[in-house]
């Protein structure tokens, strides 16, 4: 049952991500990415991390993607324009061939490097990690990182407001 769920969620995640980069309508890309995030949340539940799964849905699929959606609707993002004529035969149209080759190389390299890890069986953590454990880890051991991210969010808020402001000319 777990194996079936893993393959199902994994297939949905990969298929949705391929469609995100593969098809032209930006609105559909945003929706497909939300589907991919949902599949990843399912994978987190399989990994005994329900808190991370719910946080993924709340933060990523529920907030960040709404931001993307609003920007796509606001700018009325058109379908992609065809690429300008290529620079050279090696690069292909605007470097597409080289780019595709590099990504393929990266994929193969990562899969080959990870295919021989020493760990084969999961450790025997019988209990689902409780939210209290995560909370104590964040607020006690990683307290500095937590405070730093709060400053980061403040900077990002101010930056976003300033950057997207209309210029008064």
């Amino acid at each position: 049952m777990d194996v079936f769920a893993f393959y199902a969620f994994g297939a949905v995640a990969i298929l949705a991500s391929l469609l995100v980069i593969g098809q032209g309508n930006p609105m559909h890309s945003v929706m497909l990415l939300i589907v991919s995030f949902g599949a990843l949340a399912g994978l987190y539940v399989l990994l005994d991390a329900p808190f991370t799964a719910v946080t993924q849905i709340i933060v990523y699929a529920g907030a960040i993607m709404v931001l993307f959606l609003f920007v796509v609707m606001l700018l009325n993002v058109p379908r992609e324009e065809p690429a300008p004529p290529g620079v050279s035969a090696l690069l292909g149209p605007t470097g597409t061939r080289l780019g595709a080759l590099l990504s393929l190389l990266l994929g193969v390299e990562i899969v080959w490097a990870l295919a021989d890890m020493g760990i084969r069986r999961p450790e025997s953590t019988a209990s689902v990690s409780s939210v209290a454990l995560i909370g104590s880890a964040i607020f006690l051991r990683h307290a500095f990182a937590f405070e730093a991210t709060s400053v980061l969010i403040l900077v990002a808020m101010i930056g976003a407001v300033v950057l997207a402001r209309r210029e008064h000319s």
């Binding site: 709340i58 699929a61 959606l69 609003f70 609707m73």
Partner: protein, 344 residues
Amino acid sequence: MSWLPSPEIIAQLGLIVVVFNMLVLSAAFMVWMERKVCAYIQDRSGPNRVGFEGVLQPFADVIKLLFKEQLKPKAADTILFAIAPLVSTTAAFAAFSVVPFGTETTLFGLLDRPIPLEITDVNVAVLVIFAITSMGIYGIVLAGWSSNSKYSLLGGLRSSAQMISYELSYGLAMAAVIMMAGSLSLREIVMNQSGYWLGFIPRWYIWLQPLGFFIYLTAGVAETNRAPFDFPEAEQELVAGYHTEYSSMSFAMFFLAEYVNMVTVSAVATSLYLGGWLGPFLPDWLSWIWFLVKVFLILFFYVWMRWTLPRYRYDQLMEFGWKFLLPIAVLNLFVTAAIVLWVG
């Protein structure tokens, strides 16, 4: 009878069927109650032709909607136009899956072990409800965008901006209750409210968190786009907002989603603040009756508010959400945290 699955699985599936049907029936009941209460507030008598006092009116409405023609604007984005009502409805129903509505029961001894009366209980139940409610926003945004019409787009954007703004206060009010109960599971939060002070005052969290209850209900009303926060679908301003271009069953699904969202907000409010299914005089296996009574009270309050209060203008609505409700919710959280630290 070894080909049947075990009694536990049958009971679990039975629970799912019961909850799903109860939600659909409660939406139908809400249609009737809304029209009746609205009528009596406006000093008339409401639907009284179809069935006794009009109780079959919702079914007549459904039959009428089923026979209407399903239209789609020519320039609409087909896939998104079709899935928008599905997203809304699915999110509305799925959010109820972690709400408990009764104690553990063995169903009159048919089961070996008692099962709790809910679909499932995860240890992060409150966050699950929050997450699924966030997903419900997409139904409205997609409906507004894919209809490719001015009124829909404006209504959809306004509605989703409103929902996002009030989600913060919603979450902060829930966080205060979680701090007091020490757990994210709704069943444990309800069990923490059992017992009485002085023998007759139940230990509900509404006495300890009156401000939190007010914040939660206000944010819940705004989340479900109901009056007085229903500017995005106000008939006088925006034709019908994000569901202008929808007809027949798609429109019915948006309506269904709205009513089921109301039921979910009420159910979570009773679990968090009013002690869930706990109540005197009834035996354990009938405790869900208390749950229904409390949910019904909050739903009545919802309908009463709609037909009594005037509607907020959109900028007033957003100002109220960000400049008034959010600071109060944060203040409530601070005070609750201070008291929990001081007492505990």
